[in-house]
Amino acid sequence: MSGLKRSTSGPGERLAALRGTTPQSPHDARAIAALAANPGCARRALLDGAGIDKDAAARHLGFPAPFGQSPFAITRGNAFESLVKADGCAELLRMLREVLGLPIAEVAYHDVENVGAHLRHAHTRALIDRAAAGAPGAGTLYDHPLLSLEIAGSTAYLEPDVVAFQLGGRFHIVEIKSFAVIDGQADPSAVAAAARQAAVYVLALRALLEELGHDPLKVSHDVVLVCPENFANRPVATLVDVRRQLAVLRRQLTRMTALDRLLDDLPEDLTFDLAPGEDGLPTRPPAELADALRRTDARYAPDCLSACDLCFFCRDEARQEGASDLLGRQVRDELGGVASVEEALGLADGTRHPAEGQEEIARLLRNAERLRKECLA
């Protein structure tokens, strides 16, 4: 199959054309949280929408992503998770009783992962529907539910590594993380990332309830974060209020340009097909792929370095363009609308005349340049 399509087809087909012969890679909550952190990036929205494996693409382009997880961290994470979930989540229930102050007498545990993959979403829906309606025997804990969320006009399926907990028709998202809480304090950036991810699940579960005709607010904005306590492997549960993250996420998702609008602006023959060979490795000439990517707008920011697989590619592009984005949002904000390094320096040493609206920043830059010269003379 050729990745090129010339028809004015619907967004679904258009995305399929962008993907070409590359197998679709699913969204996860981390990707959605990262996407929401940089909603203006059309390149990322398109790649994610089409389900392109960004990691493979970056590698093929010669800009492998700087991420990796240590086997020690993976082992520890898995060990901790299985400890929490052992014996039908017995340990988890003990903590939920404590942290939510609920009398949880009997418990039914459903691991949705046991169901065949193609049925998981339907099965999750059915279970949640019955639970929300208060049907008897609907269960208390749902492990590995498959949720879905509309992202920029396309449906993303989420396979959370989490448990949804239900009692009396009220749901809580339970997120298990292996970073430690020491004397009641944890690494703030790790907690923030966990909260952003949990917010994605809360939103997805609320959307599901709404779709099924139930009250979406039956899903609590308090998520239960389960982490090891101090230096031991003993789990401790904490309630984390994700209302702020939910609000940010909702706003960013609505701000995200709808994919079909982005698709309309693309050249008809554009494709991000990696053309995987029989061994699954990309065979498309990297320069060709790079050209295709450059025809979509990226909004590089240094924060991408901790969130997006394509970060090194986009940073390289920003360097070649001499964009002040390279220096971070703070510098960019301070320069107030002067996008390129060349332009800002030209305004500073007076070799360039300020355009309309740039008079104030030009005056400041000239003054700053004068002061630096004077002090370093």
Partner: protein, 475 residues
């Protein structure tokens, strides 16, 4: 970050080399610093893997936990670390000076203090956690640890906490100190990579700095690729030598970078207020040593309400003082305030040294100075001013218009009928005046810890170390 720093970053990006944002060094540099590079096992809260440390750049000590999941080996490692660190720390206790105080007994202050230089803020945080996981241990009872371990924990806790105190130089992080003196053409996030930051300052930027095979991360986390391909097989092989040599390859490049960072900072002349801040460090260090000598308990897990409020107030004052002192010490830092109109500098064009105000007995000497400046002055008449050229002096802004500013000297020009020699600047002298001053409001009066109000949880229970603390798991 100010516009001045942003401009320096743009210039650095354009020229391909870092630009100075300070003309003097704002941190103290010990004559005998100890470089300390800790590594931890990924995925664990505070499991030590290795450390390279020492005061001699040609002879680093390498301490390794060859089976990182083995609790006994961890404590043996901590004891080894104590064997290097504690003698270093204690070597500063012998020579002291007696300091007289108002309303308090005199105390002994060490003439010099230890300086533990670490690569980055991650190393500071890890040091604190190491301190937290060792300071409550006991040398007797069910899970005894080597004798030096709890003491090491208290010192590591102290140093780690002191590192967040603005202007302290007891435990500086190399990336932070370099970043305070040079602006690179990359983002702050990328400046946290010591190799990348140093290359910007010395040879110009290189992507090699981000290649863990060329420049391994400066810790405390190791490169995931190294963990998977080198470290895990080495640990599984059960050969301590193999693990040790593997970790040496990860630490040695950073060791060299650390000394280069120290050399770079040493190349800058010391700022005028650095000695004063170091004196506070020495006093704090002596206080900690005295607390240990008196047999006080280890630092509690958390501060009580009063202690926390007092700590916060101290740190806020230290931050304010640090900001002002740096501006007074360094014209390039002061330039940031000149840019925003809170300071101005220029040439004295006219003076009236004998100017007086009032009549008869209330007649006061108030010399006038007129300064010609290009700076945008945004200070109203009557603003109290200070000047880096004459630190004890106080002045007041009389008027500012058309690039001419008239200043009235109000303090520090002598008590006679004419100003003391040199107290009033001469025509032609370059001067700088600023509304930034070093006098701050005193801290709010806080109640004694025993009378903490109920709104703040009431008096905190006195911390008594217990067996649970001493036997806490460390898995």
């Amino acid at each position: 970050m100010s516009l001045l720093t942003s401009l320096a970053r743009l210039r650095a990006l354009h020229e391909g080399v870092a630009q100075p944002i300070a003309t003097v060094r704002h941190c103290h540099l010990s004559r005998r610093p100890m470089v300390f590079i800790p590594l931890k096992l990924s995925g664990e809260a505070a499991a030590p893997l290795a450390a390279m440390l020492g005061t001699d750049r040609d002879r680093p000590r390498l301490l390794v936990v060859t089976q990182p999941r083995n609790r006994d080996q961890r404590f043996a490692w901590a004891a080894e670390l104590a064997g290097v660190l504690l003698p270093y720390v204690e070597s500063f206790l012998a020579d002291t000076e007696t300091v007289e105080r108002r309303n308090a007994d005199p105390y002994e202050r060490a003439l010099d203090a230890p300086q533990l230089v670490v690569p980055n803020l991650g190393a500071v945080a890890f040091t604190r956690l190491l301190g937290r996981s060792t300071r409550f241990r006991r040398t007797d009872g069910p899970y005894p640890v080597p004798e030096e371990v709890p003491l090491l924990g208290r010192w590591l806790t102290y140093l780690g906490e002191r590192a967040s105190y603005p202007g302290s130089s007891l435990m500086p992080a190399a990336t932070e100190e370099l970043g305070r003196h040079w602006a690179t053409g990359q983002s702050g996030l990328e400046d946290a990579n010591l190799a990348a930051l140093l290359h910007w300052i010395t040879d110009g930027p290189t992507d090699d700095a981000e290649d863990p095979l060329i420049w391994p991360p400066a810790g405390p986390a190791t490169d995931p690729g190294f963990d998977a391909e080198v470290l895990a097989p080495a640990i599984d092989s059960g050969s301590p030598e193999r693990v040790t040599e593997a970790l040496r390859t990860q630490l040695e490049p950073t060791w060299r970078l650390m000394w280069r960072a120290i050399d770079l900072l040493a190349g800058l002349p010391e700022g005028a207020s650095v000695a004063q801040r170091w004196e506070q460090d020495r006093a704090s260090f002596s206080g900690m040593a005295a607390a240990i000598a008196e047999g006080g308990p280890p630092q509690p897990r958390r501060d009580g309400a009063v202690a926390a409020a007092a700590r916060l107030a101290r740190m806020e004052r230290a931050q304010a003082a640090y900001d002002v002192q740096r501006a007074y010490d360094d014209p390039l830092v002061m330039a940031e305030f000149r840019l925003t109109g809170e300071a101005f500098a220029g040439e004295v064009v006219e003076t009236d040294p004998g100017h007086t105000e009032g009549e008869g007995r209330s007649r006061k000497l108030r010399p006038l100075v007129v300064v010609k400046t290009d700076d945008p002055v945004r200070l109203p008449a009557g603003t109290a001013l200070g000047t880096p050229q004459r630190r004890g002096q106080g002045a007041e802004l009389v008027s500012a218009a058309g690039g001419l500013v008239t200043v009235k000297i109000t303090k520090g020009m002598g008590r006679g009928r004419t100003p003391a020699p040199g107290a009033v600047p001469e025509v032609g002298e370059r001067v700088c005046y600023t509304s930034l001053t070093d006098d701050f409001q005193g801290s709010p009066a806080l109640p004694e810890s025993e009378s903490t109000p109920w709104t703040h949880g009431g008096p905190p229970q006195e911390y008594v170390p217990n067996d649970d603390d001493a036997q806490e798991e460390w898995s």
